[in-house]
Structures are given as structure tokens and as C-alpha cells.
């Protein structure tokens, strides 16, 4: 009998738990530890943030589902890692602290295999004044943040209807923030909602981002097939922003937010401010600050974490020109403890994807590498498949591999909600991490499989994905036929 403990019930944790449970006999224990009572389809937060979806439509409670499927659920958060056990406990374990009903209680949870799928810490504290709901700044990173954001936007719309002009700023709230895609979706959705409410002329909308160029998305930009043309993602986003009257400020590392004022440093080393009435700025993502201890209680955090969790990546520091796809992990296994894995956002990337840039004052202003839903799901499934094969004795080695340098991703960015009036920017990339050796003439990616498209169909696709992935997450009949 094996016991697999999964930390986190987001996209990657839930994908891993559901595949493990489906393919392993009941004698093996699958345990999920997560502080949230619900599973949430985060990509649809964008629509919660414009009031076109209720938070309830994007989530469902985990406890009844896990009970039905035979997955043990502990509503708790992990606090420390003990991969060698301790003086009293022979087996490796994690310490957890319950939330909700058993709030405050702690427990040692032992495991044979550990999957750390705790995603990112939303590091609002890294930027002074960025806390959602303060200083006129909001977030869409969780459904409650998004709902809060909508309430504030609704008030701004009401003011515009009364003839008061509003300044809206959307983008990134830190020099090293990632997830530009989510902010990009939000700015386009907000813009369309203002048109729907017939107040578009009352608002000035500005994109404020740490990207060097539009369309960088933390992925160094892309060269895309667009119809019969080949276009840079920068050109595509510029076309969309100009067409919708959205201004932009680039290379901006936001340092501080005061009531209605964003302070930032740009790549020219200038310190500037941007006023706003309503802002949505994505925070930087960081590791959770977990600690790890060996059998004797000695701190071994650096064996497990480098901010996020260490996996089979090449972490040797090297300049951008020497970055290779081979640096990226393939099995998401910790190099020191072979029974610990970290798929999704929880693993420490070897380096960025976008070219690093510093301001004239030496401040790093570069987007961190994103790990979107699709790679999060794929990496979780391959970790689960490797464990399943290992437990069933089919393979001793980890033969399921999936490097982001040999994996495609589809990003369907909503550009406005509505069955007939909606729009979406559909972008696919292959590979996610550019492979400049394989594709030297197309900025490291395969044209044809890296393409962009804009239109109503994109909205339908995003909506179809919302329903399909919630169906899959609820583990309804034949859920496993829907790919990650």
C-alpha cells in the first residue's frame, strides 16, 4: 500500500489527485491537503471581475466530491517539510495546520510520495500599498478579489454615468510580476463593458506593465502566424490596444501605491507616477516561504526550496544568451528526495523566459516566467502517471516527461463577454519555452503551431473551456477524456 499526499487543490493538485485516484486501487491512499474548501476555475475570474459571472459559477465544494471518490481531504495548510521524518516519526511527513472547523489544530501527515502543488503566494506585500481593496487598487487573482474588483468597477461606471470622468489603470504591480495574460484579458473585458454601459468616452484606460514590449507576456513575445501573415505578438497587441483606444506604459516596475497613485520606475531609470480612479494590478508571485528539516531537526530548506520548490532543472546561473530548453525540468522531481515532486506553479523555474532587463539604476524590471493552466495540468498529470507506473511496478524510472521546452500551450484570452458581442484573442505557442536551436528563424517557436486569432469564436472557445474544465474537475462521467 502506498500513501500519496498532495499539497494544494488548484489546477495541478486536483488534476494529480483525480488521475491517481482513478488509476490506483483503493488500497492506496490519496490525501489532499488544501486550505480552500472549494475548487476554483481561476481563468473565469476575469468575468467575475466585470460582473458577468457570479463566483459560484466558477467553483464547487471539494469535500463531497472527494468523499464520493475516496480521496481523503484535509482542509489545512502545510507549514513545514520533514522529508526524513524526525526523532519520533520514522516516515517522512509534512506538518499541517487546519483551517475552518478544526482551525489551529496541527497534525503530522506521513507519506510515501509527496506532490507539492501549492502554486504561488500572491505577494502583495512586495509592493507597498498594493493590498487589494486599498488605495483604489484591486486584483482578480482569486474569486473574492475579482468580486471585490467588480463592486469597485461598478461604482466607477455609476460615476461615469453621472458625467464624472474616470482613469483606469490595469497591468502589473511589481517589477518582476508575471501573469500579464490575465491583466491583458481584464483590460479588454473592462473596455468592452464600458462600451456596453455606453460610458467608454468617459474613461481613459491605460496598460501599465513591466514588459519591455507589448505582447511579451513573460514569454519573450512570439512570432505568430496570423491569417496569411507572420506577426509579432507586440504588433498584434498594439493593433488591438490602438483599435480600442487603450494607452500603454511599458518597462514599468511599480514600487508603491498610494490612494489613486501608482509610483513606478521605468527602464530609463526615471521615477514616475500614474494617477488612477480604479486600478487592477497583478502582484508578484513568490514561494510560500516553507521550511524543511532533516531527521535531527537541522534546517535543510535549501535542499527543497529556492523560493519555489527545487526540481530537476539546471539552476546554474547563466546569461540570457546561454539559456537552453534543456535547463527546464522534465519530471518535476526534487533532486535530493526522489519521492517529492512539484508540478504547476510550485516548481522553481531555472530562469526567466523573457530577456532580463535592468533600469539605468540597476533595478531588475522583467516579467517572471508564467506557468498557465495547460502546462500546470500537463505537468501534474505526468507526475501522477509516473507515480502510478512506479506503484504498479510497471516502470522503475520516471519515463513520463514533459519539459516546457517540448510542450505546447493554448492561451485563449477573453477580450469581451457576450454570446454575440464577445471576443477572444486565441494564441497557441509551441514550445512554451523558445527553442532557438530548433527554430532559429522564428524566435524559437514553430510557426503554424504558434498562431494568433481574434474574434467571437475565441470567446465561445473560452466559454466552452470553462464548462469543459469544470465538468472534468467535478469528475463527471468520462471526465478523463477531456485533455489537460
Amino acid at each position: 500500500m502506498s500513501k500519496i499526499v498532495i499539497l494544494g487543490a488548484g489546477i495541478s493538485g486536483h488534476v494529480a489527485a483525480s488521475h491517481l485516484r482513478r488509476k490506483l486501487a483503493k488500497e492506496h491512499q490519496v490525501v489532499v491537503v488544501s486550505p480552500n474548501s472549494s475548487y476554483q476555475w481561476i481563468p473565469s475570474n476575469i468575468w467575475v471581475g466585470i460582473g458577468r459571472m457570479q463566483p459560484e459559477q466558477t467553483k464547487f465544494p471539494l469535500k463531497p466530491l472527494y468523499k464520493k471518490k475516496g480521496i481523503e481531504f484535509k482542509q489545512a495548510k502545510v507549514t513545514t517539510f520533514h522529508p526524513e521524518g524526525d526523532a519520533e516519526t520514522e516516515a517522512p511527513f509534512v506538518t499541517i495546520e487546519y483551517v475552518a472547523e478544526k482551525a489551529g489544530q496541527t497534525e503530522k501527515v506521513t507519506y510515501d510520495y509527496l506532490i507539492n502543488a501549492t502554486g504561488p503566494k500572491l505577494n502583495f506585500e512586495a509592493t507597498e500599498g498594493l493590498k487589494p481593496g486599498t488605495n483604489g487598487v484591486y486584483s482578480v487573482c482569486t474569486y473574492s478579489h475579482a468580486d471585490h474588483s467588480w463592486k469597485a468597477l461598478e461604482q466607477a461606471i455609476a460615476k461615469m454615468k453621472k458625467g464624472v470622468k474616470q482613469k483606469i489603470v490595469i497591468g502589473t504591480g511589481h517589477a518582476k510580476a508575471t501573469c500579464q495574460g490575465a491583466a491583458f484579458e481584464y483590460i479588454l473585458n473592462v473596455e468592452q463593458e464600458l462600451r456596453r454601459h455606453k460610458v467608454r468616452d468617459m474613461a481613459e484606460i491605460t496598460w501599465l506593465s513591466n514588459e519591455y514590449q507589448l505582447g511579451d507576456f513573460g514569454m519573450d513575445g512570439m512570432l505568430l502566424s496570423y491569417g496569411s501573415n507572420i506577426l509579432k505578438s507586440a504588433e498584434m497587441v498594439e493593433m488591438i490596444f490602438e483599435d480600442r483606444g487603450i494607452k500603454w506604459i511599458l518597462g514599468a516596475g511599480v514600487t508603491k501605491i498610494e490612494a489613486g497613485l501608482a509610483h513606478y520606475e521605468n527602464l530609463d531609470g526615471e521615477y514616475k507616477t500614474e494617477p488612477f480612479d480604479f486600478a487592477m494590478l497583478i502582484p508578484s508571485f513568490s514561494g510560500h516561504g516553507f521550511k524543511a528539516y532533516d531527521k535531527k531537526g537541522v534546517d535543510i530548506t535549501d535542499k527543497l526550496f529556492k523560493g519555489f520548490m527545487l526540481v530537476d532543472a539546471d539552476y546554474t546561473p547563466k546569461p540570457y544568451e546561454e539559456w537552453k530548453v534543456q535547463d527546464w525540468p522534465e519530471t518535476y522531481q526534487n533532486p535530493h528526495y526522489e519521492n517529492i515532486f512539484a508540478p504547476g506553479i510550485a516548481f522553481a523555474p531555472p530562469h526567466g523566459i523573457s530577456k532580463p532587463r535592468k533600469s539605468k539604476n540597476g533595478t531588475d524590471i522583467t516579467p517572471a516566467p508564467p506557468r498557465t493552466g495547460m502546462p500546470s495540468g500537463i505537468t501534474a498529470k505526468l507526475v501522477a502517471d509516473n507515480l502510478i507506473d512506479k506503484i504498479k511496478g510497471k516502470h522503475k524510472t520516471l519515463h513520463h516527461k514533459g519539459s516546457m521546452g517540448n510542450m505546447g500551450a493554448a492561451c485563449i484570452a477573453s477580450a469581451g463577454f457576450g454570446i454575440t458581442k464577445g471576443s477572444g484573442v486565441s494564441i497557441t505557442t509551441y514550445p512554451i519555452v523558445p527553442d532557438f536551436e530548433k527554430y532559429p528563424d522564428s524566435h524559437g517557436r514553430k510557426l503554424g503551431q504558434t498562431f494568433g486569432d481574434i474574434g467571437l469564436a475565441g470567446h465561445w472557445l473560452k466559454l466552452a473551456l470553462h464548462y469543459a474544465f469544470l465538468y472534468k474537475a467535478k469528475m463527471k462521467p468520462f471526465w478523463w477524456l477531456i485533455p489537460e
Binding site: G245, Q326, L382, Y430, D435, A457
Partner: protein, 42 residues
């Protein structure tokens, strides 16, 4: 606002019939990316 997307292009982008076929095309295209699989690089 600067018109960067022509009226014809806008019509194509928002026409439900054309976009229905685009939806099928995009769904297949995404499936091809997924079916293309993934692997190691070393």
C-alpha cells in the same frame, strides 16, 4: 482611438456564421497542439 482593424475584418471577427466555422477550426487547432504531446529535451 485609431482604427487599426478594418470594417471588413471587424465584420468577419463578429459574424456568427463565419465565427462558427472558426470555432470548429480553433478547437481542432488546440486539439492538435494537445495531441502533439510533450516530452523531454535532454
Amino acid at each position: 482611438m485609431t482604427r487599426r482593424i478594418s470594417k471588413t475584418k471587424q465584420f468577419i471577427m463578429m459574424n456568427p456564421i463565419i465565427q462558427f466555422f472558426k470555432f470548429i477550426y480553433l478547437s481542432l487547432k488546440v486539439l492538435v497542439i494537445v495531441a502533439g504531446g510533450h516530452g523531454g529535451t535532454r
